[in-house]
Amino acid sequence: MKRWLKPSTPTGLMLIVVLMFGFGFMLVPLYDVFCEITGLNGKTRGPYQGEVNAATNQNQRMVTIQFVANRNDNLPWGFDPDQEEIQLQIGERKQTTFRVSNTYDQAVVAQAIPSVSPARAADYLNKVECFCFQRQPLDAGQSKDFPLVFFIDPDLPADISKLTLSYTLFDITNPASARTH
């Protein structure tokens, strides 16, 4: 090691400081990677990319999926699942809808963030189409049904018979306005 780079010199120590500052920011992607590998946090994945072929699926197992719709920060909008609970065969492709009503007299942008419980089931819930993949603009006073198309992966651990998919709806029209409560 070069003499001036040793951790007994100001330059060497400054290097540690800079590296640790960078490490602080590195924790952000590391956290995501860690959650993805371990399946913690109940985060679902993006759009399902593979083929959906229910015909080849011989698994007759039935599971229950519950839908929960929350509005962040007591947002005075409407946000409800069309069905609160669905029984479906594993591997079976299902469609349901969520209704969002903008009660404001101005156009808004909404964003729904999904979360699955139990967290280790998150990897087995495959969403072919979801309104949560994009920001959703809504006109003043508009109500809209948003589709969700999904299926449960046949490899779902045997002890899970019921899972909950919860959405939290955020108003992201104007990030600054969120601070005025």
């Binding site: 951790p7 007994s8 010199t9 100001p10 120590l13 400054m14 540690i16 400081v17 800079v18 640790m20 500052f21 960078g22 490490f23 602080g24 920011f25 924790l27 952000v28 956290y31 371990t38 913690l40 946090n41 962040n72 964003q111 963030i113 967290a119 939290t168 955020f170 108003d171 992201i172 990030p175 969120a178 601070r179 409560h181």
Partner: protein, 525 residues
């Protein structure tokens, strides 16, 4: 007398600009210590507001919003303004004296790192007078409380934290470079006094985690002003991430606040037991072990946030592991006193109280480390009792002990021993009266950070408040003792403590403005 008769070629500069322009480690040490004493009273007066409001149930004195600002500012000022600068001040005075160096390695940076602090705290305290009030989200400033729901003054808070961080980092760099490069010829690392060792390790902790704190407040700044979503779920971020990054900083931070106190106590106990420190090497290795472990235990602050069982077990066991090196230290201090010919002057009293009361705080820490039990203790006054026991009779008593111990060498005069004893006993009673009942109300479920409480907690809270008023007022006596010593104390001897060992006692009393201009020759220990 020693051969220290060389003429002082120049003394301190004349006039008040001496204190602004000084690069002398003794001047800067004094500045740090005086600054931290002022901050102790600023933070302490906020504790007065808190305890006055909690004196009886119901809301009497302040509105809840202001109460939240008080708890937040009390924590921030005590951690960053009182305890940390006090230890840097002790290091500035003592590290060069104890290793036989003429000054710190980077004197100009030393001046800068101190003079940033008054500006940082002026900025932090000024938020109290801003529209929307001061930060009110707790000293842990969890997002989104500190981002989405924060008062506008949060930006000043962020910059103040940045400045304190820069100051601490510069101070730490200075101390490491001094210790590695400026020891007296022949002094090996394993010959260094334990105060120097603990500060070396503390400085490395500072270098490692203060930049992470800077990173996390920078992310907050970007979330608030630049539309990023590090901690905002709507944009794909995660508020729990904030807690992980914060505690990755803040757990080592709590050891930063106590390791130098370990060092001070390890200097004082051998002096007044008139025996060399028992197990010097194990003390060094135990300190290193505590420092290393401090990086892998952070999530024990987050048991209730939600974690898989494997995570809870990992953080529970690693946390409990810290009790082993800490136990080694307590064992060594007690063994040092065992069969020593002990006397109980004020520094020794504070040091012994440190050992006893810090151990109580450590034991309640072990209780909190039990993940299933923590679900009951979390965010109650039991936690408040725990961390005040390690911080007040821990760190603060360590600092006070160090001040009494080295004050005769610094100013050449002896403090009034009788008043010192009064100061100790009033502080000892006050601190226990304040914090011990908190254990009971905490176990019974009284939540922290709330300006009101259920009626059954009233008696213990009144006791706590009375103890707090006693402890706080007693510290005015400390100021009086110091002022009296400096102005009219009896001249101190060259070696004020019979059993004291080390290079700092070989210089004349008071320590001249410039010491060790020629390196000392290390003789017998």
């Amino acid at each position: 007398m020693s051969a220290y008769t060389e003429t002082t070629h120049h003394g301190p500069a004349k006039g008040w600009t001496r204190w602004i322009l000084t690069t002398n480690h003794k001047d800067i040490g004094t500045l740090y210590l005086v600054f931290s004493l002022i901050m102790l009273f600023v933070g302490g007066s906020m504790a007065f507001v808190i305890r006055a409001e909690l004196f009886q149930p119901g809301l009497q004195l302040v509105v809840p919003e202001f109460f939240n600002q008080m708890t937040t500012m009390h924590g921030l000022i005590m951690v960053f303004g009182a305890v940390m600068p006090a230890f840097v001040g002790l290091a500035n005075w003592q590290v060069p004296l104890m290793i036989g160096a003429p000054d710190m390695a980077l004197p100009r940076m030393n001046n800068l790192s101190f003079w940033i602090l008054p500006f940082a705290f002026a900025m932090l305290i000024s938020t109290l007078f801003m529209a929307g009030g001061a930060p009110d989200f707790g000293w842990t400033f969890y997002a989104p409380l500190s981002t989405t729901y924060a008062p506008p003054s949060v930006t000043f808070f962020i910059f103040a934290i940045h400045m304190m961080g820069i100051s601490s980092i510069m101070g730490a760099i200075n101390i490491i470079v001094t210790i590695f490069n400026m020891r007296a010829p022949g002094m090996k690392l394993m010959d260094m006094p334990l105060f120097v060792w603990t500060w070396l390790i503390t400085a490395f902790l500072l270098i490692a985690v203060m930049p992470v704190l800077a990173a996390v407040v920078t992310m907050m700044l970007m979330d608030i002003h630049f539309g990023t979503s590090f901690f905002n779920a709507a944009g794909g971020g995660d508020p729990v991430l904030f807690q992980h990054v914060f505690w990755f900083f803040a757990h080592p931070e709590v050891y930063i606040m106590v390791l130098p106190a370990f060092g001070v106590v390890s200097q004082i106990v051998p002096t007044f037991a008139r025996k060399p420190l028992f197990g010097y090497q194990s003390m060094v290795y135990a300190t290193i072990a505590i420092a290393v472990l401090s990086f892998i235990v952070w999530a024990h602050h987050m048991f209730t946030v939600g974690m898989p069982i494997a995570g809870e077990l990992f953080f529970m066991y690693t946390t409990m592991l810290i009790a082993v090196p800490t136990g080694v230290k307590v064992f060594n201090w007690i063994s040092t006193m065992f069969r020593g010919s002990m006397t109980f002057e004020t520094p020794m009293l504070f040091a012994i109280a440190f050992i006893v009361l810090f151990t109580i705080g450590g034991l309640s820490g072990l209780m909190l480390a039990i993940a299933p039990a923590d679900f009951q203790y979390h965010d109650t006054y039991f936690v408040v009792a725990h961390f005040h026991y390690v911080l007040v009779p821990g760190s603060v008593f360590g600092i006070i002990a160090g001040v009494y111990y080295w004050l005769p060498k610094w100013c050449g005069k002896m403090y009034d021993e009788k008043l010192g004893q009064w100061h100790f006993w009033l502080s000892f009673i006050g601190v226990n009266l304040t914090f011990f009942p908190m254990h009971f109300v905490g176990l019974a479920g009284m939540p922290r950070r709330i300006p009101d409480y259920a009626l059954q907690f009233a008696d213990f809270n009144m006791l706590t408040s009375l103890g707090a008023f006693l402890f706080g007022t007693t510290q005015l006596l400390f100021v009086y003792i110091i002022v009296k010593t400096v102005r009219s104390g009896k001249p101190a001897e060259q070696l004020p403590w019979e059993g004291a060992q080390g290079l700092e006692w070989t210089v004349p009393t008071p320590a001249p403005y410039h010491t060790f201009s020629t390196p000392p020759v290390l003789g017998e220990k």
